[in-house]
């Protein structure tokens, strides 16, 4: 029986206090009533302890120092500002909008034919961008992975399937496409502001991670004609932030509940 996790229980303590009490009886010479198995502390509950102060170990500092010095020069460079703190959220988030916009922007800047849609995943955006200056280091933390941007040439019906993937996923960062989520299906799908045209192909910018079987949008995993401009997602973000200066993405109803 899992005391700790079932919905209705009195978890952990009640059951374990009883168990502990019986153990304590068994323990010869142990007269303490301090219940074992608790976060033993004054009052018998709560986090016990913290140290008063944790100085940094000099040897470890020395170990890390030369690496830090090498990183710092580059990583502390400010490339732009966030007008407000950008976080991810579902079905749509400002951080995700920035990321997807950056993919379209940076792809176009390579001279490649622009994409109709950009899609990435919230799971790949690892930290918020706090309001204020944005450093290269922060973008590394936002996008630590070496994911490359890829462009998939997708038939119209696959784009519809992809929209349903997005709806079932509860929304992931997108640009160029908008849809409503109706009963975990996509509705009112627009690409570039227009309904999907049967028979047409669309260019989808995404990450190699999502296109190669990662994430939860299976439509991206099929074999499509693929372009691989030599562009890391992280570099796309950096290029976009540098070119934009102050980024202030908004919730625009790209993916919205109905």
């Amino acid at each position: 029986m899992i005391h700790a996790c079932s919905r209705s229980t009195q978890p952990l303590f009640r059951s374990w206090t009883l168990t502990a009490a019986s153990f304590l009886i068994v323990l010869a010479g142990c007269r303490s009533l301090e219940p074992a198995g608790m976060y033993t502390s004054e009052g018998g509950q709560g986090f016990v302890t913290v140290v008063d102060t944790l100085a940094e170990d000099p040897a470890l500092l020395a170990l890390v120092a030369p690496y830090r010095a090498e990183l710092e020069g580059e990583m502390s460079r400010v490339i732009g500002r966030a007008a407000q703190t950008l976080t991810k959220s579902q079905p749509e988030g400002v951080l995700g909008n920035m990321a997807a916009d950056a993919m379209l922007f940076a792809l176009a800047r390579t001279g490649a034919e622009p994409a109709d849609i950009a899609i990435t995943n919230n799971g790949g955006l690892r930290v918020p961008l706090n309001a204020g200056p944005i450093t290269i280091g922060r973008v590394f933390e936002l996008m630590p992975f070496e994911n490359m941007l890829v462009v998939l040439e997708m038939p119209a019906d696959s784009v519809v399937a992809l929209a349903h993937d997005l709806a079932r996923a509860g929304g992931e960062p997108v640009a160029g496409i908008s849809l409503a989520i109706r009963d975990a299906e996509a509705a009112d799908i627009l690409v570039g502001g227009a309904p999907i045209e049967p028979g047409r192909t669309y260019r989808i910018a995404t990450s190699d991670y999502l296109a190669n079987g990662g994430g939860n949008m299976p439509t991206l995993w099929s074999d499509y004609p693929r372009e691989t401009p030599d562009l890391k997602l992280r570099d796309a973000f950096i290029a976009y932030i540098e070119a934009t200066g102050t980024i202030a993405p908004e919730i625009e109803g790209r993916i919205r509940p109905e």
């Binding site: 996790c5 978890p11 374990w16 890390v64 630590p144």
Partner: protein
């Protein structure tokens, strides 16, 4: 979540209220009352440290000022100075998360683990981020660290020489069996990156390991798991289902879900299972990510080497109280 409803989370105010008790900077872990014949094993653990060498920057973020390997080292040293039988373990995802990894490919993380004298670790999905070669090529930076995984089949890869299903360590006459479990690669690790390494069912592997380690006379069976704490309503193995199905495990030190458990979760063992029925409930613990916390579990064994009880504490790796 229900399991912490009656545990008052530690807070700064409480700490300040208690700081008199913390006089002289004692680490204050429940000493309990120990009989002369008893032995204490102290297990320290981290998970998902994610290349966090330096404390989080003071940028207004929620974790600002927290973590950092140099502070963790200080804490570990102080605990080692107080106790003889100490193990230091990690549950995976050592790699990825700061530019240290992007630029130095894991060298700094592993050198720091070597300096801190980590004993055993298991593999997280992100430890494959530079592929099997990218991982193996870094392992010499922590030559004494042992890697365990019982459900990753590594025989066909270069990891073969570096990863064992389990290890058995001894501390002060206590035998500790430690095995590892890794998460399914699907959707997490691209095929190219785990080439030659395949995933097997973790529950089956865990049963085999728990039995083997009991048979080998281990006094404590520890699982380093990167499966994740709990997936509600999803049919996939997690730490909660693991301890429910494998009663021979005494403690699961988890990872992957970056779960901050304020208290370890105790799970009663099925009485019918024979093994474990006379032991304290099995424990699951996980300490978030990035080395923001160091987990500590003290296991007390009686004169016959029987596990009788445990104490637990988490340390915030922090200097705000300096």
């Amino acid at each position: 979540m229900p399991h912490i409803t009656n545990v008052t989370p530690w807070s700064r105010r409480e700490f300040l209220g208690r700081s008199a008790a913390a006089a002289a900077g004692a680490l204050l872990v429940p000493a309990g009352v120990m009989a002369a014949s008893e032995k204490r094993l102290v297990i320290l653990h981290t998970n998902d440290t994610h290349s966090r060498m330096d404390p989080f920057p003071m940028d207004g973020g929620r974790n600002e000022g927290l973590a950092g390997v140099a502070r963790r080292q200080t804490l570990i040293d102080r605990i080692r100075a107080e106790h003889r039988n100490v193990l230091l373990l990690d549950s995976g995802d050592v790699f990825q998360g700061t530019p240290y990894f992007n630029v130095f490919k894991g060298e700094v993380e592993l050198k720091a683990m070597h300096a801190m004298r980590y004993d055993v670790a298991t593999l997280g999905n992100h430890d494959f981020d530079n592929g099997v070669d990218g991982l193996v090529d870094m392992l010499h930076h922590a030559p004494d660290l042992k890697w365990v995984s019982a459900n990753y089949e590594v025989a066909e890869s270069r990891l073969e020489r570096h990863v064992e299903p389990h290890v058995i360590l001894e501390r002060g006459g206590i035998r500790i069996g430690i095995f590892g479990l890794g998460i399914a690669f699907d959707g997490l690790v691209l095929p190219d990156l785990h080439e030659g390494v395949s995933y097997n069912d973790p529950i089956l592997a865990a049963r085999r390991q728990a039995d083997a380690l009991r048979e080998a006379g281990c006094d404590l069976v520890v699982c380093l798991s990167h499966l994740g704490y709990r997936y509600r309503g999803e049919d996939r193995p997690d730490d909660v289902s693991l301890v429910a199905e494998v009663p021979g495990i005494d403690v699961v030190l988890g990872g992957h879900t970056h779960t901050f458990l304020d208290a370890p979760v105790a799970v009663e063992r099925p009485a019918a299972a024979g093994v474990g029925a006379d032991r304290p409930p099995a424990l699951i613990n996980q300490v978030g990510f990035a080395g923001i916390r160091l987990g500590r579990l003290d296991f007390i064994f009686d004169g016959r080497g029987r596990l009788t009880r445990w104490y637990a504490a988490h340390y915030n790796v922090d200097d705000r109280y300096a």
